[in-house]
């Protein structure tokens, strides 16, 4: 028996040693592999193909399974992080505080690239803290309303105006909502994400005071935002309830959710970012129009985007910086704009005639609307004293109760305000340096 087990041990060790070289990723001769933690989309593959073509000594690969911010942080601290990674939304501070995002200020200056004059002005909080730059946006986006021209034509309805009001959208949406004999909605008038931040921005509701020291989520503007969001579903019945959306959803991601429902003709209009266009192009029968999102006098659309940063612990820093240079160049920006992955990081390429009207996509006559919407978009607010996750927790909890009709929006927002303030005070109690900064009143 001992001989048998010893033989098995020898075989296993021998087999392991034999297989070990095959377990490594094959590195093409003369090439350096650069890993980018990002999502895997057809657009991303085209961007990578262009980079690899322009940089034959590098082999850029994506790591889509590890592009979640917490995975990037944990892996990078463990020394096995990607070379470059995406920082979604306003997560910049998270990566800077943890020392993972490399300060690119001097490197970009050496490349002759001035991010503050080149990149869309409102995007600064996504890539810079004070005068230091930590990344370049991979793309930027904002929201507008797509409409299905065929649905309008079938109903002999005029297309919505370029600058509609919510009254316009509600009236049109009601006409376009269709039900079957059993009362089940076969086509919704309007789809949108159940995201209170979108509606706060549209209605001009602020989250914080200017110095970030106090939350302001119980204001009349905030109340208007919550009322609008829930009335579209429960009063006007234009959009699916959260549970309907939830049960229709898969696990989210590119090409799923509202955009696929719109392609499947389950809705006549959908609030979405420009990157939806990529999916719509794959449905040749779908004819789409775009109008601006209705905004209040002080409202704005949200600026959304992903910023590419270099891992400060990457052993392939030089190669990673070449990728950053690529993202700042015209080739990448034009490709991004053509592929409709939002818009490229540099503003100036959207001034070119090919962006205004791309002959490859003659049906898309609405790119100027995207440019105007982008110029009016604003990034999410943030405060050094409370994280966005904590604000989401406080507001989301209360909106769950509003969503069920067991709490009225005003009381819910007041409770969210109180809960948020409590979390802020707890943060101060746990961090003496933060408390000192708070006391000094500087943001």
């Amino acid at each position: 028996m001992r001989a048998l087990f010893s033989a098995i041990l020898v075989v296993l060790v021998g087999w392991t040693l034999f297989m070990l070289p095959t377990s490594r990723d094959p590195v093409p001769a003369g090439k350096t592999i650069v890993t980018w933690a990002t999502d895997d989309t057809p657009i991303r593959r085209e961007q990578i193909a262009l980079f690899n073509k322009l940089n034959p000594d590098l082999d850029l690969r994506i790591d889509p399974t590890n592009n979640d911010p917490n995975k990037v942080v944990v892996q990078s601290i463990g020394g096995v992080g990607p070379d470059v990674f995406d920082m979604p939304g306003t997560t910049l501070k998270v990566f800077v505080d943890s020392g993972i995002a490399l300060d690119l200020t001097d490197e970009l200056a050496k490349m002759g690239y001035d991010p503050l004059s080149e990149i869309w002005p409102a995007a600064k909080p996504l890539f810079a803290i004070e005068d230091r730059t930590y990344g370049v946006p991979a793309n930027l986006d904002t929201l507008a309303i797509f409409y299905d021209r065929q649905a309008f034509d079938e109903m002999k309805l005029p297309y919505p105006p370029v600058n509609p009001t919510w009254d316009d959208i509600i009236a049109i949406g009601k006409k376009l909502t269709a039900k079957d004999a059993s009362g089940r909605t076969t086509r919704y008038g309007l789809l949108f994400w159940w995201d209170w931040r979108d509606f706060f921005a549209m209605c001009g509701a602020r989250l914080f005071t200017d110095d970030g020291r106090k939350l302001t989520i119980d204001t009349p503007e905030a109340l208007a935002a919550v009322n609008l969001m829930s009335s579209l579903i429960y009063v006007h019945k234009l959009a699916p309830t959260a549970s309907e959306s939830n049960s229709m959803a898969s696990v989210g991601g590119w090409g799923s959710g509202n955009e696929s429902r719109f392609v499947g003709r389950r809705a006549a209009m959908v609030v979405g970012p420009r990157y939806f266009t990529g999916n719509f192009r794959r449905a040749p029968d779908l004819k789409v129009g775009v109008v601006k999102l209705p905004l209040s006098a002080t409202g704005s659309t949200r600026l959304k985007g992903r910023t590419i940063a270099v891992n400060s612990r990457s052993p392939r820093r030089a190669a990673a910086l070449r990728f950053i240079k690529f993202v700042t160049d015209g080739g990448y920006n034009r490709l991004n704009n053509d592929l409709a992955d939002g818009v490229g990081p540099s503003l100036k390429y959207t001034e070119e005639p090919k962006f205004q009207f791309n002959p490859d996509f003659p049906e898309e006559k609405y790119n100027p609307i995207w440019r105007q919407s982008m110029l009016a978009a604003q990034p999410d607010e943030s405060s050094p004293y409370i994280s966005n996750g904590q604000v989401d927790e406080a507001v989301g909890f209360q909106l769950d109760l509003v969503n069920q009709g067991i709490k009225d929006p005003k009381a819910a927002l007041a409770a969210a305000q109180a809960a948020g303030e409590k979390l802020l005070q707890e943060n101060l109690a746990a961090n003496a340096a933060l408390a000192k900064r708070y006391a000094e009143g500087s943001k």
Binding site: V73, I77, A249, V251, I406, N431
Partner: protein
């Protein structure tokens, strides 16, 4: 063999034995014992992976905060609420095992069908149940509506995954009860799904194995003495199953305290209003969403203490009823 050779052979056997154990031992030390000790150290610090605030030793402050946190107690109640249905699940598994222990044609097919959810991807099952629970168009409410229509009764279906209502009337915002909060909501939705998935799972297999290994003579003797089916079960099978039941209860309690992460992540996000957030999901969120590793480690150790205490109590009192 001389005494010297015998001693040498023993020593070689010992060394070889240890060598065989070494890979497992190393794995245990590096991947289990090490992190466990490390997490206790972390729980005594304000460790936040974002370096904000700077790392410092805070003693038992995290534990104090855990005790004072209303969130922790709410999520503890959620966890206990889910666990309250463990006996029902165990009873269901036992009933299924008893049915499958019959000598009928096609029993292998029934066993396979009942075990099917156990080897189906959990996420796929959860997505399927999300559709079933749709309050307006889901199959469950459609069936309920049909039953109500049959008796011409008005129907207001449960909100399932979108509802904070529950069978005990627990209030979503504070630790209190209210009649208006009684109903079927997200908690029950997860419980029913768990019951369905677990019915023909591991517990059923354990019971089935125990029933299969039970000596036939005992049952035959009882039958000859005039015992009916219930009497045979109550006085012969049930006592014989006691060790298996004890094992299942211990494992279910441990699993219950550690559970709820997958379903919360895939189906509810811990909501609505935190009603499906269990302690394990709370730990996950505190560490990997809010990056408060020090605090999350403290919660994990408190959870460990609770599991240890419950297991100890079960061992002390439950063990007496078994045949060990």
């Amino acid at each position: 063999m001389t005494a010297k050779n015998k001693k040498r052979a023993t020593r070689i056997a010992t060394i070889l034995g240890l060598a065989y154990l070494l890979p497992n031992l190393l794995g245990f030390l590096v991947f289990t014992a090490g992190p466990v000790i490390f997490s206790f150290g972390a729980s005594l610090t304000n460790w936040n992976i974002m370096n904000s605030p700077p790392l410092e030793f805070v003693g038992f402050r995290n534990y104090q905060q855990v005790g004072q946190s209303s969130q922790f107690w709410t999520f503890f109640i959620n966890t206990v609420y889910f666990m309250a249905f463990i006996p029902v699940g165990i009873a269901g598994s036992l009933v299924v095992a008893l049915l499958l222990d019959s000598r009928l044609r096609g029993m292998t097919l029934f066993r396979t069908l009942l075990y099917l959810p156990s080897f189906t991807a959990g996420v796929a099952i959860m997505i399927m149940w999300k559709g079933l629970y749709n309050p307006d168009h889901g199959l469950i409410n459609a069936c309920l509506r049909g039953v109500f229509d049959l008796f011409s009764l008005p129907f207001q279906g449960p909100g399932w995954l979108q509802s904070t209502q529950n069978l005990m009337g627990l209030h979503p915002e504070k630790i209190a009860f209210a009649v208006k909060d009684i109903g079927l909501g997200a908690r029950e939705a997860l419980v029913f799904m768990g019951f369905w998935a677990g019915l023909g799972g591991g517990n059923m297999l354990l019971y089935l194995a125990a029933l299969t290994n039970m000596p036939d003579e005992l049952i035959e003797a009882a039958s000859l003495d005039g015992a009916g089916r219930w009497a045979v079960f109550r006085h012969v099978k049930w006592p014989q199953l006691a060790p298996t039941t004890f094992f299942i209860v211990i494992m279910s309690v441990i699993g219950g305290f550690q559970g709820g992460v997958d379903s919360a992540q895939v189906m509810t996000g811990g909501g609505p209003a935190g009603t499906t957030t269990t302690l394990a999901y709370h730990i996950f969120r505190k560490s990997f969403v809010e990056y408060q590793f020090g605090y999350a480690s403290a919660v994990a150790w408190v959870l460990f203490a609770i599991v240890f205490a419950f297991s100890g109590l079960l061992w002390k009192f439950g063990n007496k009823e078994t045949n060990y």
